[in-house]
Symmetry: C2
Subunit: 440 residues, 2 copies
């Protein structure tokens, strides 16, 4: 670490080479997570301290046999190491003293104090039929924090395994090509004068150092058009805004806890009501698709239209965005005062298309994920499968022993047991659900 501090840019190829001969921890900070986890955690601790939530790993890319690619002992060593990491003092001081979305003291002193004792809880891991069953059972206040570290560990171990036998200069050239490729994207994005973009690529990243390179490159290449990163550690280290609000786990858990269909139907709005009691302003972003966007909009109370913006996360960006613009207009709101955040599998082409389509008609912001931090297509002469991203998620499986469900607007992204999914489809309907392949 002394070298990493002394040199502003670490030589990624050398470090990757070194991964092969010693244990090199992937998770080195509990801030190396998405900002929304901390915002949600503060609310969860406040309102749901007693709720038990099980998260589990889901690999949607069935053709990739993770347990064949990643050594179980190595995986355990990384997960165990992550459990030894604590929030550092300087990290907590920064969380307490920094402003987020223009707001001071976003995190209450008692929450910061509680974080100082935080430790990732235990995990259950076994290999079954070439896949890993990885589950986190326990209080929601703790299991929720495994989502990002579990994903970054598995993704980075997989990339390391794919590169294990490469020479040092072959690796250097691999990263050289990836850098050149990302910079071509930066040069295209420089052509969009009113672009507003942030990094959402932590969970699917190729590796920490590569994400850091990407984020710092965007900071230099896009200037003020690059507004920040969802990664709290990178935001702190680079004086960038930490970006993010809330995720599907909130309506999923509240849906699971709801007694009866009426309560289930109300759950997505109950979540928003609780959220607005905790946070305001730019944090009032609706994630409408947990159980389908069409039903969400149809049944939404009028105050939802007062929120700052929407983040459609599984509908095609232009059609999905237009549906929300229509809904704002139908509720008498001017879309030009509203914010649309597009973050589902975006890349330069879809960013350009959405930018041109919506420019001047709505405030537009992009969250750029997998195709920012894990795009090595065309960079690897060996075209290794292990360098292609997999569609890997850590999702709520149960809350207080009841099954949790996500429908989304794309049935390929649905999670939950078949019976529960059938019940949710009965309650919410399947208007507007369109199956499309999940690539990232």
């Amino acid at each position: 670490m002394a070298v990493a501090v002394a040199m502003a840019v670490t030589d990624i190829a050398t470090r990757t080479y070194n991964h092969n001969w010693r244990h090199d921890p992937i998770v080195r900070s509990l801030l190396d997570t998405d900002f929304y986890k901390l915002l949600m955690l503060q609310m969860i601790r406040h309102l749901y301290a007693d709720v038990q939530v099980t998260f589990q790993l889901i690999n949607r890319t069935k053709t990739v046999r993770l347990a064949d690619d990643i050594d179980e002992a190595e995986l355990r060593a990384q997960l165990d190491h992550a459990r030894t990491v604590r929030f550092a003092k300087k990290e907590l001081i920064w969380l307490a003293g920094n402003s987020f979305y223009g707001q001071q003291r976003m995190f209450a002193p008692d929450f910061i104090d509680w974080l100082s004792g935080f430790q990732l809880p235990e995990y259950e891991l076994r290999a079954v039929d070439g896949q890993y069953e990885l589950r986190f059972e326990g209080p929601w206040t703790h299991t929720t924090m495994w989502e990002i570290p579990a994903l970054t560990i598995i993704n980075e171990l997989r990339a390391r395994a794919a590169m294990r036998d490469r020479g040092r200069f072959a690796l250097d050239v691999l990263y050289a090509r990836a850098k050149a490729k990302l910079w071509e994207k930066v040069e295209r994005l420089q052509q969009l004068p009113d672009l507003v973009l942030s990094d959402f690529g932590t969970r699917r990243r190729h590796g920490f150092l590569w994400q850091r390179w990407c984020v710092e490159a965007l900071k230099e290449g896009l200037g003020s058009r690059f507004i920040g990163t969802s990664n709290v550690l990178l935001a702190m280290d680079n004086d960038l805004e930490a970006i993010g609000t809330n995720a599907h786990e909130l309506p999923m858990v509240l849906g699971a806890l709801a007694d009866g269909d009426d309560a289930l139907r109300r759950a997505p709005y109950d979540v928003l009501d609780q959220w607005r009691r905790h946070y305001g302003g730019n944090l009032l972003i609706v994630l409408p698709d947990a159980f389908g966007t069409a039903s969400f909009l149809r049944d939404a109370p009028d105050w939802v239209a007062d929120w700052t913006g929407f983040r459609p996360d599984s509908a095609p960006p232009i059609e999905g965005g237009e549906a929300i613009l229509d809904w704002w207009r139908a509720r008498g709101r001017d879309p030009r005062q509203k914010l649309l955040i597009l973050s589902d599998g975006m890349d330069v082409e879809s960013i350009e298309a959405a930018y041109r389509h919506f420019h001047g008609r709505v405030r537009l912001s992009f969250g750029w994920g997998t195709n920012l931090t894990n795009d090595f297509r065309g960079c690897d002469p060996q075209d290794a499968v292990g360098l292609k991203p997999v569609s890997l998620v850590v999702k709520v499986a149960e809350a207080n022993g009841r099954p949790a469900v996500k429908l989304s607007d794309n049935p390929a992204k649905a999670t939950g047991n078949p019976e529960a999914i059938a019940r949710y489809l009965r309650v919410f309907g399947s208007d507007g659900h369109v199956r499309s392949d999940v690539l990232v």
Copy 2:
């Protein structure tokens, strides 16, 4: 330097960035020179310790105004710094203890001892009409050693100036593109199973760290087909063979010292006679073109055909090589036992063409220079002129007050005053001289 030692691969972009805010010496070792300088120096010290030789800088690329691009104070600071550098103990121990071309004790103990006190001599510098007049006057035993450091300093300062206003990530991407570009070349050269290639790129390199990257990349990428480097420091640091024998300065000085036309006509062979008394085996490489290859071959004594090989340096590689094969055959020698070294402005295309043309007909070896260590074509979005190599040489101007001349096979590469050139053309003729543009 501590960081460079601790990390096997230095981050070139970061270092280049740093060049802008502090003095970063270019010449840090007197071994950072071409191997042939040391071989020639040992002979010069033995036979010509009293000869005074003036070297001077010649910029054949007149459109590039070096004095406008490079700050004079910076240039003086680098030249002055080079004069403070001495051979380090470990360097002299390596020169004494290493074998070169399979031969132990290539350098005599008294020569090694003399090197321990060596210092680069004074220089004269002034800017005239946008160009630098840079001259080194004094004993041949000292002025000869300025050739390579003077060239590397000017070339690297020029590149630094071109990159002065670049951002850190723009620089990182520039090098990323150059790495990817070089690796494409490596992948093409991997297709040539009997390739024999060495680095001759010190004098025209973009910078020391970049040359080091290129050399280490060739070592990994080409394995045993990459036989070594002309750069003595890089050879030592990477356990590579130091490659090189002799240069035009020997016949140029002996030509200048010759009394009368007959002596002048004999000078190219007198040099070889002296050389073979000092060195043997693979070091017996003829550089035939100082005053034109055709006249050299026509008048050569028979024992020249016993030498190991030829390095044609200014004729087109295939035609020039064929002329030498014809000459060997005419003298009753089998070219398949002989070595042809091609090193004039080679790049992948011309290496492939010559390889295919000569494969199986002669032992073939390539010296890859400018297009190895200074090819940023297509890598720079700003397409800066300062990142394109210039045809810069440091040549003998006078020996003991008499003008020195080089004709070469290409009149565009001729050096010397017009009267002297006219005399040399009268003595040697101009058979086979073909003008072509000098790009590198």
